[in-house]
């Protein structure tokens, strides 16, 4: 075996899993002492181009409460055609179709390299993908136009058989009927009235057909389209819908001076959820909500329509002064739960200069595996490209999205799942959790029972989902780790520690707590828990600090933090800073104010922002236009280098980061200045001398100070 480093990397590539500890302590007590919990980051649908799905169904353990899937860790008696479940030890016969197996002729799922394997399930009729656009029309003309174009464009990206629907809202909520010829027809709901799903379905004339429908199973598409005029295959309504979108007007209700437009986001979502619930329960569907402002009326209202009342800030929230917060949050949570139960995910694309109520609405995406994208305007490439990237395709030409995923976690008897952090919602079943649209998750696995020495613990992730090509698939990942006695094998355990994974996991726990607890408490907890470089930046990150961030921004950052994979998460915690200069190739530099030098170009990637910062001298040169001169070709190349790198990052990242090109003294330089370690501030500027770096005007402590305190604290606490 190679190094742990390699092992970890290999595991991640194969199974999408990173554990904080790769040797598990054998008792709960020991695990607790380890401080960092035994947990893992799991990417259920990690893209595996090298993993062709198998065309049959998985073999399940026959014990009713186990149902684990046959995996390479199982003991198999080829002669008796019997296998033993490695979770419950139940002995199961192979199904008849496995009659031909032998040691020489093993099915894929028994081979060790197939610790992750994907099955294609033929059960049921494949249901088409469903995309339901929920569009705010209270936008500026320019924004609306841009949004309309994006939406029209997106139609061409959808598979032809996908069902598409459109709901627009402003003061009223309109559900557009797409099937009719001639006159564009839509059903209108009052934006202030909370309707039950049943009422909505009745009003949309959808109440009857479901009677015959199979309970809990997707309805055949042809049937569905027959009775649901609101969701139609793209290929059929393409033209229609394009025209419809083209004719979308701004909300026709005049907005008096001093008022916000009335925006019935809550009811619109309720209608969307109700519509899907009534027509396509348990079918993969994506509700895409585009908003240009906060909900201002009806259920889910975040702020009133009086402009003189500003939308809630952290300050208001801390003072318990946010009138609508709890009610709205509760409302959206209820919606999110309904939606999750039915396997529908909700995306939020919020583009506005002010807050849009993401704080209240985040659960919609968080619980249903939807995206949240926040931007300043729909008329920016940030939104346009991000939105386009939602429909990006994998090597097979399928969307990088899956629907209606249900993730079950089976563990050896010694382990128990204590929870999951990620875009998922619990089914409240023992030891399992549900989610859809999975990308990243964090699991905490707690010990349940003492583990026998020398044994191996195993965890199996069974993810059922609807693939974007409408197939239903099951992906099974089975992982085993050795147990180790903390007393005798402490070094082993130590060496199995995955620093990065642990950092991210701890950060997520911190964020998870931050969501529910007061900020300072979380910081204190975190401080007590672990001390590592990451934590310094973590403390300063918007995930935990609300200062200078609106509640919406915090929600947005946290949302992404808990769902990106490890690498991205690390970037979020500690932004990467590259330095470009004539003195050599680009090099990563310390995220420190001392890195800010006049003759350097800095490229900072914070995941959410991509900042190119031209040093003072460089900026002057650029202003003087040297790069245009042939003799300064090298300067031109220098200027170009960070741009190219940034472009590369922009190409791949979702959501697309905010791209900032600035220079020394530029207003946008704040993005950089707020991230770097304030080793030089106005307080200590002269003490440090002026030879390098740029002072940061902040009262925050620098890493140096932090470390000093930390050391002190570590000593004193142990004492």
């Amino acid at each position: 075996m190679s190094t742990y480093q390699e092992f970890i990397q290999q595991n991640e590539d194969r199974d999408g899993v990173r554990f904080s500890w790769n040797l598990w302590p054998s008792s709960r007590l020991e695990a607790t002492r380890l401080v960092v919990p035994v947990s893992c980051l799991f990417t259920p649908l990690k893209e595996r181009p090298d993993l062709p799905p198998v065309q049959y169904e998985p073999v399940l353990c026959s014990r009713a409460n186990c149902k684990a899937v046959l995996n390479p860790l199982c003991q198999v008696d080829f002669r008796a055609k019997i296998w033993a479940c490695n979770f419950c030890f139940q002995r199961n016969p192979f199904p008849p179709s496995y009659a031909g197996i032998s040691e020489a002729n093993q099915p894929a799922e028994l081979m060790p390299q197939f610790s992750t394997i994907e099955y294609i399930v033929q059960r049921g009729t494949p249901a088409p993908l469903i995309f339901l656009y929920v569009v705010d029309t209270c936008l500026e003309e320019e924004d609306l136009q841009a949004l309309k174009e994006s939406l029209q464009m997106s139609l061409s990206l959808l598979p032809p058989n996908a069902l598409v629907g459109l709901i627009t809202f402003g003061r009223m909520v309109q559900v557009h009927e797409l099937s009719c010829e001639g006159i564009a027809k839509s059903y209108v709901f009052r934006g202030t009235k909370d309707l039950s799903a049943k009422q909505i379905q009745e009003m949309l004339g959808l109440s009857k057909p479901m009677a015959s429908g199979q309970q809990g199973r997707p309805v055949a598409p042809q049937d569905a389209s027959a009775f649901c005029r609101f969701l139609q295959p793209v290929h059929r309504v393409d033209m229609n819908l394009t025209d419809l979108l083209g004719e979308l007007q701004r909300d026709p209700w005049p907005v008096p001076q001093g008022k916000r437009p009335l925006r019935s986001t809550g009811v619109a979502l309720s209608v969307a959820v109700g519509l899907l619930e009534g027509t396509f329960p348990n079918t993969g569907a994506r509700v895409m909500l585009f908003i240009g402002g906060p909900p201002t009326q009806g259920p889910g209202m975040v702020v009133g329509d009086e402009l003189k009342t500003p939308i809630r800030s952290w300050h208001d929230i801390q003072k318990d002064n946010a009138r609508h917060l709890k009610k709205a949050t509760k409302y959206y949570e209820a919606l999110a739960n309904r939606s999750a139960v039915n396997g529908h995910s909700i995306d939020i694309y919020a583009c506005a200069l002010d807050q849009t109520g993401l704080l209240e609405m985040k659960c919609l995406s968080n619980l249903t595996g939807g995206h949240i994208v926040m931007g300043d305007s729909f008329n920016t490439s940030l939104f346009k490209q991000t939105f386009q990237r939602v429909f990006s395709k994998d090597y097979n030409g399928d969307f990088r999205m899956a629907f209606g995923g249900v993730l079950e976690v089976k563990t050896s008897r010694e382990l128990k799942v204590c929870g999951a952090i990620g875009p998922c919602v619990s089914l409240n079943a023992k030891g399992s959790s549900v989610s859809e649209n999975v990308s990243e998750r964090t699991f905490n696995i707690n010990h349940n029972a003492p583990v026998p020495q020398g044994g191996r613990g195993a965890v199996q992730f069974v993810t059922q989902y609807q693939h974007s090509n409408t197939q239903r698939r099951i992906r099974v990942t089975t992982i085993a780790r050795n147990w180790a006695d903390a007393q005798s094998q402490i070094q082993h355990i130590e060496s199995s520690f995955d620093q990065e994974a642990a950092a991210v996991l701890m950060a997520r726990l911190g964020v998870f707590r931050a969501e529910s607890e007061e900020g300072p408490d979380v910081l204190r907890w975190l401080d007590r828990q672990l001390i590592r470089l990451f934590m310094f930046h973590m403390r300063r990150s918007p995930f935990l600090q609300v200062f200078n961030n609106s509640p919406d921004e915090s929600s947005y950052y946290r949302h992404h933090f808990v769902r990106q994979d490890l690498t991205q998460s690390l970037i979020m915690i500690q932004p990467i800073l590259y330095s470009y200069s004539f003195y050599g190739p680009p090099e990563p530099v310390l995220l420190d104010s001392s890195s800010i030098l006049p003759d350097r170009i800095l490229l900072m990637d914070t995941f959410f922002q991509l900042v190119i910062f031209h040093g003072e001298t460089i900026a002057q040169w650029r202003k003087a236009g040297y790069q245009e001169m042939a003799e300064y070709e090298n300067f031109k190349q220098l200027l170009q280098a960070p741009l190219d790198d940034a472009q590369e990052i922009l190409q791949t990242r979702f959501p697309m980061p905010r791209y900032v090109d600035t220079e020394h003294g530029g207003s946008q330089a704040r993005f950089l200045l707020s991230k770097v370690n304030p080793s030089q501030t106005h307080n200590n500027l002269y003490a440090w001398g002026q030879e390098t770096g740029a002072p940061i005007l902040t009262d925050d402590v620098s890493l140096q100070v932090f470390m000093d305190h930390l050391k002190k604290l570590a000593v004193s606490s142990s004492a």
């Binding site: 009223m172 009719c180 001639g182 006159i183 564009a184 839509s186 009052r190 026709p252 209700w253």
Partner: protein, 1282 residues
């Protein structure tokens, strides 16, 4: 009928056997007179004084009346006094007098002349002497009348009268009296006396009832008195009355004419002779060419009657001859008749039969009397003819000689014709003076002929001839006569032997001659004749011409009668008086009435930024009655006497009379009606209003689509949108439009101009209605034309396959209301709805139609809304200025009482098209819709009526909402809506200042301008009841009473409401009788001249479907009518309750044929009639109509080939057809709702519907005939007096 007839027959025959028709006739008539019923329609003619001038005119006119003279005479009347005075007028008057009972009435002077007045009521009995004044002529008349009377009475009386002989005497006496009376009337302006005389004349002696009327008594004895009135018996009384009436002239106008006719007929014999003498040659001749029949004619008829058989035969011949002239036939009959007896003798002999004869002759005629006509249908026809013949015959005889007159008569006004005939007959008798007097009788007789003439050609023609001599008579008889004559005239009838039999029967029944009782036609014609120059409103307390008269108005300080009509133009000074008289004090105000092109619309006055100048205390607006004082620096309010400073910018010096120098430059100081430009203070929320919007809400449920309604509406809207109301015809209308369709859910449409295609927005949340969009829903037509057209094209397609049958209604109105609220403007909703809204939604209704409740105490609940939801909704609508017009297309019960709540409370209209079929109802619907969309309309209106101290507006009737007791709020107010306002005393009024009222309507025009329209009205006050009774307007009273009653049925048993009406009417008349009429026998029914039609009209009200439903009248129909009537103006109610029935046998020139009374007996089997009710238009085709007529009208020679389903006459290229279609078009143009033409063939099933509108007859639902009701009324009055 049948029963009666049989009895009648029996009785009559005996009678007949004993004496000739003529005799009987006379007898009958006499008895009648004797009997109590004397209808004196006292014409207040005296009062008429206003017309007073006319007096002079009247006198002569009186004579003239019969002839074309009427018109002339009228003319004079109308004409200011001066005009009247003119000698010419006189002549004219005379004619008028006869007619214009009303007109006459007013003019005391005229009375004498006016045949009617004079004749019947007054003259006859007691007063005869008084009449004398007018006397001489009368006397002559009397004499003649005597004869004549014989004649007249005969008709009705005869039958009953058998005993009549006595009656005769009496009658004779009376008659004479009458005649004299007429004269009196005419001349007579003699007030009281005349009155009495008239009374006598009028006296429709209930005689029959009273045993007294020997003659009558016998026959009717049983019926006689009280019951009699109603019962057949009563008729006699009436008959008697009639005759008197006729003579009296009070009733006269109508009666006169008619009566005359009848009389003639009755008297037939005699009159004829008389007539013959005088008129004979000419008139009769023509008509009866055969007239020749030798005077006998008269006899003949009788004879014919007497010997039915013969007559028939004879008749035929006549017919033959008649062909040329309608009368001809009769003539033959007559001729035959004539031969028999001498004129009178013959008649008398005939009478027995004759009486019968005259009418009876051809059974029908008689029938006519009793209504027997109807039954006898065929016989009637024959009968009628026979009658006519009979009558004619009598007349004819006279006619023979008269004939020419008649002929000539025809030329003249139709009415005249009859009159002439009458006149003739009358004349005959009168011989000398006779003409006038004679006219009466002659009129009677002549009348018939005339009528005949009228029926056929137009008898009037003859009149001309007569005119000279008879004019006066014509007047008397003319009108009435005409009608009867026609019926009787039916030559056809004569021929048939049956008819002869029939006659007898008829005779028996009728005791009262329908022709002798006040005839609406006569009154109307008289009034028309009076008008020959514009009506100026400068004189306080002057009653305007009737609504049926076309006249020009010059505003000189009081509002035009087109805007305001009062029940009384002479209000009692004290509430005691008002209570005593029971005459309702009310005004019917039609604030936005459209004026004819030759009258300027109210001027717009702008008083600048401070707004209109008003009294500080009562807030009355500046008007001509404000008194400027202190050199013009202040003005004193005419209403509350408060003194207010004149704002500097409004100051003007006064001239030596105390008038402002600029008085005539300022409309508000010199006119009765004008408008102020309102300032922002008068606007809602102190914001100038937005232009209004029209929203079309179309039911697209299965029924609506299937019936073709949806596509029709959509198709039509495309055109209509170009014709939205606008103030400036040059500019585009600023009215915005919006569209909604609905069934169980609502579909709004976005038709914004920038869209390529309309968008539909479905709102299924009907429980909580809202408007889904604003911008794009209400659009400017010009801008969004393409989108709108595309929408209207697509709506029918979209719902072509709908299966949805349930509808909502409340949410539909809510939707429109919300849309207007959102747009912050007023507007109008046009709702096209088909069914009971049973879908789950606010305002959901259930079917509660239960015929078993009709007639019970619970009936009233059916007129009340089922749920209170709509009341609340209506209130909200009014607050927003949202007017709702509802077009209903029900196939079953839709509960109009409930659905109509909102339209009615918001000043909207309900239109109903039961069993709508695209083919047959499309035209009516579309025309209604067009008119409804295009008509001038104001929004968000508030009306306030201020009055001078002493009276107060206490009650308002119409389509509106009131949140307090003084402000009438109308979300919408269009040019057809009238509000009836009732006034009560709260103090004394003074005779000097009179009573003032000012109606101010604040509204938003269709272009969004806020205005105040002010109508001022001043009336006189009186301390004498007589003055009150002299200056009332019956049509307006009826308008008020009907609205009062229709409101009453919401809370009271229908029967109780009817009784209340009858009581009030009886009290009004009794009060008059007691306080204003000269003492006379209690048996006389004396009616004030200007209220002599009160009984007949009231009867119509009582018989209306709402108050007395027939079996086939649904609750919806009643509720619909109830709501419809609530906002009708006077002219609407007039024609609604008393339909206009025009004979179409001859259409010449531009003038209309003179209408005939709405009774089956007035219909000639050989004729074609056009009836207009304001809602329906019937073309009644007699079974034996001439081919030529058929060809002219229908283009087919055969009666059986007429397609009774046609709703429009074929376009044929002949003058008759053209003229007829023009006529129909002009009728339609006059009414706010399009009248679908129904062709009714005689004896067709559809005829039942038509007969329903023959309001003088007994109705199938149990309504009393005019004659019966008059008797009943008389009885009531007597009870009150005793």
């Amino acid at each position: 009928m049948s029963v009666c007839e049989t009895e009648g027959l029996v009785k009559h025959r005996p009678l007949g056997s004993s004496t000739r028709t003529a005799d009987t006739l006379t007898l009958l008539s006499y008895p009648g007179f004797r009997d109590e019923l004397k209808m004196n329609v006292n014409q207040h003619t005296p009062l008429a004084a206003p017309y007073g001038q006319p007096q002079p005119g009247y006198v002569q006119p009186g004579y003239a009346p019969l002839d074309g003279g009427y018109p002339t005479s009228y003319m004079p009347y109308h004409g200011p006094a001066p005009a009247y005075q003119h000698g010419a007028p006189q002549q004219g008057y005379s004619p008028f007098t006869s007619f214009p009972s009303k007109a006459v009435a007013p003019n005391p002077v005229s009375d004498p002349s006016s045949p009617l007045d004079l004749g019947p009521a007054r003259g006859p009995p007691s007063s005869a002497p008084p009449p004398v004044a007018t006397g001489q002529p009368y006397n002559q008349y009397n004499q003649s009348q005597g004869d004549m009377q014989n004649g007249p009475p005969p008709m009705t009386q005869e039958p009953p009268r058998p005993a009549a002989s006595q009656p005769y005497n009496s009658g004779a006496a009376t008659l004479p009296g009458h005649q004299p009376s007429y004269p009196q009337h005419y001349g007579h302006p003699s007030t009281m006396q005349q009155v009495t005389n008239q009374m006598t004349g009028m006296q429709i002696n209930s005689g029959p009832p009273t045993a007294a009327g020997p003659g009558y008594a016998p026959p009717y004895s049983s019926q006689p008195p009280v019951s009699s009135a109603y019962s057949a018996a009563p008729p006699p009384s009436y008959t008697q009355a009639p005759p008197p009436a006729v003579s009296s002239g009070s009733v006269q106008m109508a009666p006169p004419s008619v009566p005359p006719a009848s009389q003639q007929q009755y008297y037939g014999g005699p009159p004829p002779q008389a007539f013959n003498p005088s008129l004979p040659p000419t008139t009769s001749q023509q008509q009866f060419t055969s007239a020749p029949p030798t005077s006998c004619q008269q006899p003949l008829p009788p004879s014919s009657y007497s010997s039915p058989m013969p007559p028939p035969s004879q008749a035929p011949p006549p017919l033959v001859s008649q062909p040329q002239q309608p009368f001809p036939p009769p003539q033959p009959a007559y001729s035959s008749a004539p031969p028999p007896p001498d004129s009178q003798a013959a008649f008398t002999s005939g009478p027995p039969p004759g009486a019968q004869v005259s009418f009876p002759p051809r059974a029908p005629p008689p029938s006519s009397l009793a209504g027997s006509f109807p039954p006898p249908g065929p016989p009637p026809s024959s009968a009628p003819s026979s009658q006519y013949p009979g009558s004619i015959s009598p007349h004819q005889r006279p006619l023979p000689s008269h004939p020419s007159p008649y002929h000539s008569g025809p030329p003249p006004p139709r009415a005249q014709m009859p009159p002439t005939s009458m006149a003739q007959s009358n004349h005959l008798p009168p011989g000398p003076q006779g003409q006038q007097q004679p006219p009466l009788q002659p009129g009677m007789s002549a009348g018939y002929p005339a009528q005949q003439n009228g029926a056929f050609g137009q008898v009037r023609g003859p009149q001309p001839g007569y005119a000279g001599p008879y004019p006066g008579q014509p007047n008397y008889g003319a009108p009435a006569p005409a009608a009867p004559a026609q019926k009787r005239l039916d030559p056809d009838a004569i021929p048939s032997p049956q008819s002869s039999d029939m006659p007898a029967v008829q005779k028996s029944r009728h005791r009262i001659d329908p022709d002798a009782i006040p005839s609406p036609i006569q009154v109307i014609e008289d009034d028309k004749a009076k008008v020959n120059e514009p009506f100026t409103t400068g004189v306080r307390g002057q009653a305007p011409p009737l609504v049926t008269t076309s006249f020009q108005v010059k505003d000189q300080g009081n509002a035009s009668p087109r805007f305001v009509r009062c029940t009384a133009y002479n209000m009692p000074c004290t509430s005691d008086m008002a209570k005593q008289s029971q005459v309702p004090l009310a005004a019917v105000i039609k604030p936005l009435a459209t004026l004819p092109p030759d009258e300027a619309p109210p001027y717009l006055v702008d008083h600048g930024e401070s707004g209109p100048i008003r009294c500080n205390r009562c807030k009355a607006y500046m008007c001509p009655y404000m008194q400027f004082i202190e050199g013009g620096r202040r003005f004193q309010c005419a209403f509350c006497s408060c003194v207010t400073e004149v704002p500097p910018h409004y100051f003007q010096h006064l001239d030596h009379t105390g008038k402002r120098v600029d008085c005539y430059e300022r409309p508000e100081l010199s006119l009765g009606s004008y408008e102020f430009l309102a300032t922002v203070d008068y606007c809602k929320n102190n914001k100038l209003p937005q232009p209004p919007a029209f929203i079309f809400l179309i039911d697209v449920s299965y029924n609506a689509v299937k019936s073709g309604l949806v596509s029709i509406v959509c198709q039509e809207l495309k055109i209509l949108l170009d014709n939205l109301p606008r103030e400036n015809p040059e500019a585009d209308s600023v009215v915005r439009v919006g569209f909604v369709t609905y069934n169980k859910v609502l579909h709004f449409y976005n038709v914004k101009a920038s869209l390529a295609q309309p968008q539909m927005l479905v709102v299924s949340d009907v429980a909580d209605m809202f408007v889904p969009l604003l911008d794009g829903f209400l659009v400017n037509v010009a801008e969004s034309r393409l989108v709108i057209e595309s929408l209207l094209d697509q709506i029918p397609e979209m719902f072509a396959d709908t299966r949805e049958t349930e509808t909502v209604f409340g949410p539909v109105i809510q939707a429109g209301l919300e849309a207007l609220k959102a747009a912050d403007c007023a507007g109008k909703l046009f709702v096209f709805h088909t069914s009971l809204p049973i879908a789950e939604a606010p305002g959901k209704l259930k079917n509660r139609e239960d015929k078993k409740l009709v007639g019970t105490d619970k009936e009233k609940s059916l007129f009340q809304p089922q749920v209170s939801f709509y009341n609340t909704l209506a209130k909200e609508c009014v607050a927003q200025g949202c007017c709702v017009d509802l077009f209903l297309f029900p196939n079953q019960y839709v509960d109009i009482a409930t659905l109509g709540v909102v339209p009615v409370s918001t000043g909207g209209s309900v239109y109903k098209y039961t069993y709508f079929q695209a083919q047959s109802d499309q035209e009516r619907f579309l025309n209604d819709l067009r008119r409804d969309v295009q008509k001038p309309v104001g929004f968000d209106a508030v009306m306030r009526v201020r009055t001078s101290t002493g009276i107060r507006a206490t009650d308002f009737y119409g389509s509106f909402f009131m949140s307090n007791t003084t402000d009438v709020e109308l979300a919408g107010l269009d040019c057809d809506k009238a509000v009836t306002v009732e006034f009560k005393h709260d103090d004394k009024l003074s005779e000097e200042t009179g009573a003032l009222m000012q109606c101010a309507v604040l509204y938003t025009t269709c272009s969004g301008q806020r205005r105040l329209r002010v109508h001022n009205m001043a009336v006189n006050c009186c301390s004498q009841l007589a003055d009150l009774y002299r200056n009332c307007e019956t049509d307006t009273i009826i308008n008020f009473l009907s609205k009062y009653a229709l409101r009453g049925i919401l809370n009271n048993h229908t029967k109780a409401v009817r009784d209340t009406l009858i009581n009030q009417c009886a009290q009004i008349l009794a009060c008059y009788r007691k306080n204003c009429a000269s003492p006379s026998s209690a048996g006389q029914l004396i009616l004030p001249e200007c209220m002599k039609l009160l009984p007949v009209y009231l009867n119509c009200v009582l018989k209306s479907d709402v108050l007395l439903p027939g079996a086939d009248i649904s609750l919806d129909d009643r509720a619909y009518l109830r709501q419809l009537i609530s906002c009708m103006d006077v002219s609407d109610t007039h024609v609604f309750f008393y339909p206009r029935l025009l004979p179409l046998m001859k259409l010449e020139g531009d003038s209309l044929p003179v209408a005939v009374r709405a009774s089956e007996e007035r219909l000639s089997k050989g004729g074609v009639y056009l009836m207009e009710t304001g809602l329906h238009l019937f073309l009644w085709v007699g079974a034996s109509v001439q081919q030529e007529l058929l060809l002219n009208i229908f283009g087919t020679p055969s009666f059986s080939q007429i397609d009774s389903a046609m709703t429009n006459l074929p376009v044929l290229d002949n003058p008759f057809s053209k003229r007829l279609r023009e006529l129909i078009d002009s009728f339609r143009a006059q009414r706010s709702r399009y009248m679908k033409l129904m062709v009714v063939k005689q004896e067709d099933r559809a005829e039942l519907v038509f007969k329903h509108f023959l309001v003088e007859d007994k109705s199938s639902s149990g309504g009393a005939s005019y004659v019966d009701f008059l008797c009943h009324m008389h009885k009531e009055i007597r009870q009150l007096l005793s």
